[in-house]
Amino acid sequence: MVYRPARPIRSSEITPKHLWLDRRSLMAGAAAAAGATLLPAGAMAAGERAKLSTTPSKYSTDLKPTSLESVTGYNNYYEFGTGKEDPAQNAGTLTTSPWTVKIDGMVDKPGDYALEDIVPATVEERIYRFRCVEAWSMVIPWNGFELSSLLNKVGVQSGAKFVAFETLVRPEEMPGQRGFFQPLNWPYVEGLRLDEAMHPLTILANGLYGEELPNQNGAPLRLVVPWKYGFKSIKSIVRISLTDKQPATTWNMAGPREYGFYSNVNPKVDHPRWSQAEERVIGAGLLGGTQPTLMFNGYEEEVASLYAGMDLKANY
């Protein structure tokens, strides 16, 4: 396959993946041999993520991306704790290889797919706006591929209307899933209508900033739906099911009045407890103020037609 990149790609970015992986295992071996026990293995992997081969996309925004430090240090990932800094602190030891995604339900080729069989050798860079339901926002340079390409590969059967997703349950490695106090029911589940899932803006991401996803951002494979609140973009996916019924979703079950199935970014429909008209821009600083939130998070032109005729207040 031949393509012409719109921007120069550093040689490091096109180093074959197996060499990077070799380098990582070599370093891990050397560290172990030297008796270097200061850093846990996860921390080392987090510092040394494999570079990805990427190609730019016309769907990227030209906004300046939020710093890598903020993107990887300020996360909601309750499997690793409810604090924003908990995931960066606790996710390092998650084993993301080997990784299998079960694809089942109304598909022609159901089965347990190895991550390597799902993720293309070259992925796209998609610089997207990201809007959390808690009224803060980032701009994130994701790397990934359109969910539709995977769904087309496995063959969606004609009766299917929805796609359901499921996150890993592994209490041994996910401290938020063990102990007395559990803020949510596991597994974390999410879902999309089939036309939302097939939309070209909807991607499965395996990286950000040109490198494999850090664990706290949902490694090794997560959903990104840029016109919906962040919690729809489910992390560390282990199962994708095609179904004819609207699937249950985690935050909707936790607070049905506050979190709907659609959860499209909409400045005119407030969260019952706070306004969604404005957002704090991560990286703007204490005096940076807020900015108005855009309809469908700025993707109105691309996705508004999906909801033509729908009452977005009732279908929040």
């Binding site: 409810t82 990286g283 600083g285 005096l287």
Partner: protein, 225 residues
Amino acid sequence: MTALSSLTDRLNGALKRVPVLPLYAVALIPGVWAFWQALNGTIGADPVRALEHALGLYALQFMIATLAVTPLRERLGVNLLRFRRMLGLTAFYYALAHLGAWMAFDRNFHWMAIVADLTKRPYIIVGMIALLLMVPLAATSFDRAIRALGAARWRNLHRLGYLAALAMALHYLWLVKSWTGEPLTYAFIVIALVGYRFLPKGRKGRGARSSAALGKPARQGTLGA
């Protein structure tokens, strides 16, 4: 004398030598530090939220400390009464700063948005109620006010502090996305401290009434006796 009561005696003796006035300034250092960190971008990725959270949490923590003075005296004989006014006023200052940070950095002095939030958002209304309940307490915190009101009326008025503390805990519980450990823990502590005031008198320990009447710590050692 039991070991416990001699320990509390020594503690009370040491506490008597701690000057109160400088503590008004010392108690504000964490808030100033949080503001400085927020301004310099070293408080985390979301400085507005982090600063609001820090100031609100300090207000709640000082409120809890204020409410703990009486049970500590009645149950353990530790006398922190000299510091109670400082603790309560500091809670009020932090609550004011918390409101100010929200209005300035979160709402950008956008008065329409502020008024909308103050009338529409239950958790913000509850937070505002907590602050308003603290105003008459702060306004009558000096000696002349106590004399003017008379001790009994002053004490009755200052029972508003229990409501304020409960409102603060509810405000915190209400603003988080799901039931999380920290606001729940604070709510339990506040409920316990306020609930303590409503225990039947006889169950407050033998030292309670005599020490309250004398304005001195309990000496009988309610736990050690």
